[in-house]
């Protein structure tokens, strides 16, 4: 097992290296010129050239890459062109909102979707099943910002139950924190409810058709026990997978949700950085997200070996 974990860990390194090279190349080939952006309206060509020189943007691309990669290996993410702060500091300041949003979203999604999925599978072919399936297709079909605006319109503007925007750190009070987190988390969870409910239903359905469930039924075991002890347990592997993928996909979702609700998280940081051509920040954030993705995949693999005793390494 330990050897397996080690092997998997090592296998992530080339992936991250490829990500780093890809991201670096992609951004340095873009037409935007951060020096011009930074210099502002009155700047003349000479002043812009000076800034470009100071940021090292006039060096050959290979040199720029080597400098960047070298710093990266020493654990230095560099300094943001724009914010004039170390990127590590910037990212740490933005992690809490994004983590809170992601956590709340998955909490809502899992606690709604798994019961729904199990129910739909159990009542296979009934109207409940159809509604759950219909909702799950619909959940994939509406853009997340439309859901956001609709929820804001109803729950924040019309009913006044929640604030329309903003984020409050956990440290300044749980009430305010929760109150501001509910709408964004619900907004973002819709698509995951759809995804996870669908997967749960499919997996449970498959397990319910297995011989040992039939045997259990024939032996007269209580339905609830069959459902939860046997079916859900054995359906756990694909569900865990889909939850894991969900967490990885969440990264894309937070970009939009954070924009709609003005949450100062990593998603907003990314969009701001892209619009400002803040290369070091974009690189760092994409690397971070990719690292998280790779890490989650690793965890999924490990979870497999835990949940499914048939898989041995």
């Amino acid at each position: 097992m330990l050897g397996y974990i080690l092997r998997r860990l090592l296998a992530t390194i080339p992936v991250l290296v490829i990500v780093a090279v890809l991201v670096f190349l992609m951004l340095r080939l873009t037409p935007g010129d951060p020096a011009a952006v930074i210099a502002g309206d009155n700047a003349n060509t000479e002043q812009i050239a000076l800034i470009r020189n100071r940021l090292g943007l006039d060096q050959p691309i290979l040199t720029q890459f080597l400098i960047w990669a070298g710093n990266l290996l020493r654990g230095e993410l560099g300094e943001s062109f724009f914010f004039k702060k170390p990127i590590g500091e910037l990212i740490i300041g933005r992690i809490e909102p994004t983590l809170s949003l992601a956590f709340a979203t998955m909490l809502i999604a899992i606690s709604v979707a798994i019961p729904l999925g199990v129910l739909a599978a159990y009542k296979h072919g009934s109207w409940i099943d159809r509604i759950v399936m219909g909702f799950s297709v619909l959940g994939f079909s509406v853009p997340v910002f439309v859901i956001g605006y609709a929820l804001i319109y109803v729950f924040a503007i019309t009913l006044g139950w929640f604030p329309v925007q903003g984020y409050q750190p956990l440290s300044s009070g749980f009430g305010g924190f929760l109150q501001r987190l509910v709408l964004p988390a619900v907004t973002l969870s819709v698509i995951y409810i759809a995804l996870i409910a669908r997967m749960t239903r499919a997996s449970v359905l498959e397990v319910l058709n297995e011989d040992y469930i039939r045997t259990a039924r024939a032996k007269g075991q209580v339905e609830r026990k069959i459902l939860f002890r046997h079916a859900l347990k054995n359906a756990a592997v694909p569900i865990v997978t889909v939850v894991g993928i969900g967490i990885a996909l969440l990264i894309g979702g937070v970009v939009v949700t954070e924009s709609v609700y003005s949450i100062p998280g990593l998603g907003r940081l990314t969009v701001d950085a892209v619009l400002a051509r803040d290369y070091p920040t974009i690189q760092a954030v994409i690397l971070l997200f990719s690292g998280v993705y790779v890490g989650i995949n690793l965890l999924i693999d490990l979870a497999y070996s835990l949940f499914d005793p048939r898989i041995r390494y």
Binding site: P14, V15, L16, V17, I18, V19, L22, V23, M26, L27, L29, T30, P31, G32, H124, V137, L138, F140, S141, V142, P143, V144, F145, V146, Y149, Y153, I157, R198, M199, R201, A202, L205, P238, T241, V242, G244, I245, A248, L249, I251, G252, V255, V256, S259, T270, V271, V274, L275, R277, I282, V285, I286, F289, S290, Y293, V294, N297, I300, D301, Y304
Partner: protein
Amino acid sequence: MSPEPTLLAPAAAEPAPPARTVMKRLVRNPVVAIGGTVLLLMTMIGLFAPWLGTLDPTAINPSTRNRLPGFERTIRADDGTATVFKHRMGTDSLGRDVYSRVVYGARVSLLIAVSVASFAIAIGLVIGLVAGYVRPLDGIIMRFMDGLMAIPGILLAIAVVSLFRSGLVSVIIAIIVPEIPRVVRVVRSIVLSVREEPYVEAAIMAGTRLPKLMVRHILPNTIAPLIVQGTFIAASAILVEAILSFLGIGIPPEIPTWGNIMAEGRNLFRVFPHNILYPGIFLALTVLAVNMLGDGLRDTLDPKMAGR
């Protein structure tokens, strides 16, 4: 182990069922029928946009901005004749007719869906075949695909858009790139599993040439899963286009796409919800139809997955 959803497990390597039975099964499936009809309707709307009582979707008119649905405007032609035009869905903040933009938007949005799906499938198919068949390249290609996949799709798309001048083509490319690795994985796993099948091994032993082997034995097995995958890519392409527009980095805003109309109207959502509402309904309906079609196709083409 692949972290991909097992939704698209490679089809078993049995020879594909005759086309006619498949068609019959498809038509009988109500989900496919509804999805297909809606999609056909949207396609017709897009194709016949100029004859559906529309104006030039890019023509601005600063004096009649932000009018509610039903607003009537007198249009004077160059020869002095006046006609009354009813803005069925109101006007946007530049005085453009929202109805015309929504109808023309069907064209662009569907064009994006179809081109993204077909290019992603085509490119992914080629790379996947190579990876699955040419063993020495497999490792390199798949590591590269892993890297590409590790970058969150939206971020990758954002980065690709900023690479090029923003335009229809660059947005299409931006949406294609993150989809490719997923297609490659599906194709590769099919190739790998088909190669192990006794009848394919027998064919190889018998000295069947590579092109024939591909066309006869491998490609047919990829068709069904790729069609299904294609519909899901198409659905997500429409959504991603809308998100890119929403973030202000999509297709140039004067080109009518549903995403652009909504992005344009989002600042005024509270006062003039029609700018989000109408394109939103069209978009959701279309994506819903494509998704239903995809579900139906999967159930029919891949009986193992039926009922999921």
